[in-house]
């Protein structure tokens, strides 16, 4: 579980995060949603430690990140997997080498065991063996995301962060990636935090949703609660499209 308590973050005079507190639960897909510029990326980067917060606590199962020394942060990060918006695969390495990289860097397993683990991870994300020797430039965006997920779970992380996992993907592939993240989260009991403004993802896999508005926590709940909440900003954001307005109506009629 990751718990953030009263965190503030400013860039010069720009107060981006204002007194945010939230709990991100283990085994659930925790989503941070909000408009562009609302501060959700800064929040995620602050939780990971890429931004140093001005005030507050970020507790990874009780371990407060801002109190840690750099060497301790590095050790903690070995428990963290991250899926970047652009996948961030290493261009100079093949698909298999990308997944092997964290294992070779931190695992004390034998070469055979590492290869076996890399194959398991790649097969878990439904990649065929014939693509293992290709470089990231030779595979599609959807496949790159899958490789990035495989790399993120290679070291059996306790925490998984996903920054806009569906960006640049077609709706069908987005759905597959969403389901994959959700399955992996439940299967390996990971604390997953997803930064997204894709409403399909929110409705599909949002176990715990944190809505950020102008750097402040505006609402927190799950995908069922979202239909009944009386928050104008949230409703404007989630039900902006006609399709989602209709979905809301249908849902309310059902009830």
């Amino acid at each position: 579980m990751i718990e953030v308590k009263n965190i503030d973050k400013s860039f010069d005079d720009n107060h981006v995060l204002k007194n945010i507190s939230a709990v991100f639960e283990t085994g659930k897909t925790n989503m941070i949603i909000g408009q562009s510029g609302s501060g959700k990326t800064v929040l995620m980067k602050s939780i990971i430690g890429l931004h140093r917060i001005d005030k507050g606590r970020i507790e990874y199962d009780g371990r407060n990140l801002p109190d840690m020394r750099m060497s301790e942060v590095r050790v903690l990060r070995r428990e963290v997997g991250m899926l970047f918006q652009g996948s961030a695969l290493f261009d100079s390495m093949s698909v298999l080498e990308n997944v092997m990289f964290p294992l070779e860097m931190f695992s004390s397993d034998s070469k055979e065991e590492m290869l076996e683990r890399a194959h398991i991870c790649l097969k878990r994300v439904n990649l065929e063996e014939k693509s293992f020797e290709l470089t990231p430039g030779e595979i599609s965006g959807g496949m790159q995301k899958r490789v990035a997920i495989a790399r993120a779970i290679a070291l059996k992380p306790t925490y998984l962060f996903c920054d806009e996992p569906n960006s640049g993907l077609d709706p069908k592939t987005s759905l597959i990636i969403d389901q994959l993240i959700h399955e992996i989260t439940e299967e390996f009991e990971i604390t997953t935090i997803i930064n997204s403004h894709d409403m399909n993802s929110v409705m599909e896999i949002g176990d715990n949703i944190l809505f950020i508005e102008n750097g402040e926590k505006a609402w927190q709940g799950n995908k069922e609660d979202i239909f009944h909440v009386d928050n104008k900003e949230l409703n404007d954001f989630v039900f902006a499209s006609d399709l989602f307005k209709k979905v809301k109506k249908v849902h309310q009629k059902k009830l």
Partner: protein, 235 residues
């Protein structure tokens, strides 16, 4: 600050020793073609120009070879070659690391708990510092061969005079001086380029700017250190 993170023991020694030969090949061996071409041509041109400027009956006929040799040993093969390599190798390093930065590959390394500065930069600096003296000595030899080819194929100077000139009053210390300079220059080129690449941000245009800045600043620093080392070692 960056160098504090670079010069620490690698997280995994075997990963460093896997990267190191790749960098030797990429930064050193792949620079050989340009070193060969430029050294041969400059050696040849220098011989012709030196002969032209030493057309004096009072000067011995072997002086052309002597001047060509000393110019190559003292300045061309170390300083000028390093300025050229600042362009080739410096831009290569800055653009590679800069692209990794803007495509979040460096962030990915950091999130994994890898010391990205150490993993990416240390093999480049060490490999280039190791390769540079060989490139410089190779350049010296090729420059002298370029001069010999001029003597052999033209009537600018006889091969006998040229060979006498390049052997006359040879001072081995000049080679040592050049090698020392090349080690410093190699460090300057690779560290400056790594710095600009590592701290680049934005998009492709910014990586281009980082690459240009690294070449310009490394070149200025090379000239500064050239003056400093020459003053220390030769004056």
């Amino acid at each position: 600050m960056l160098m504090n993170r670079v010069f620490v023991l690698p997280d995994r020694g075997k990963m460093f020793f896997r990267q190191f030969p790749k960098e030797l090949e990429k930064l050193g061996l792949q620079s050989l073609p340009i070193v060969v071409i430029i050294s041969l041509f400059i050696g040849a041109i220098m011989t012709i120009q030196t002969k032209l400027n030493t057309e004096n009956p009072l000067l011995p006929t072997y002086s052309t070879g002597l001047v060509t040799r000393d110019t190559l040993l003292l300045e061309f093969s170390s300083t000028i070659m390093c300025l050229i390599l600042a362009g080739k190798v410096g831009s290569n390093i800055a653009s590679e690391i800069g692209t990794m930065r803007i495509t979040e590959q460096i962030d990915a390394l950091e999130i994994m708990g890898v010391n990205s500065a150490n993993y990416l930069i240390l093999p480049k600096i060490t490999a280039f510092v190791v390769m540079m003296p060989f490139l410089v000595i190779f350049s010296m030899a090729l420059g002298l061969i370029g001069g010999y080819l001029v003597a052999f194929f033209t009537n600018v100077i006889t091969t006998a005079d040229y060979l006498t000139g390049i052997q006359y009053a040879f001072i081995p210390y000049y080679v040592f001086y050049s090698v020392v300079k090349s080690l410093v220059f190699a460090f300057v080129i690779s560290s400056v380029a790594s710095f600009y690449g590592y701290f680049s941000y934005g998009g492709a245009l910014d990586v281009g700017k980082a690459s240009t800045n690294s070449v310009v600043n490394a070149s200025v620093l090379i000239l500064f250190f050239n003056l400093l080392i020459t003053n220390l070692m030769l004056s």
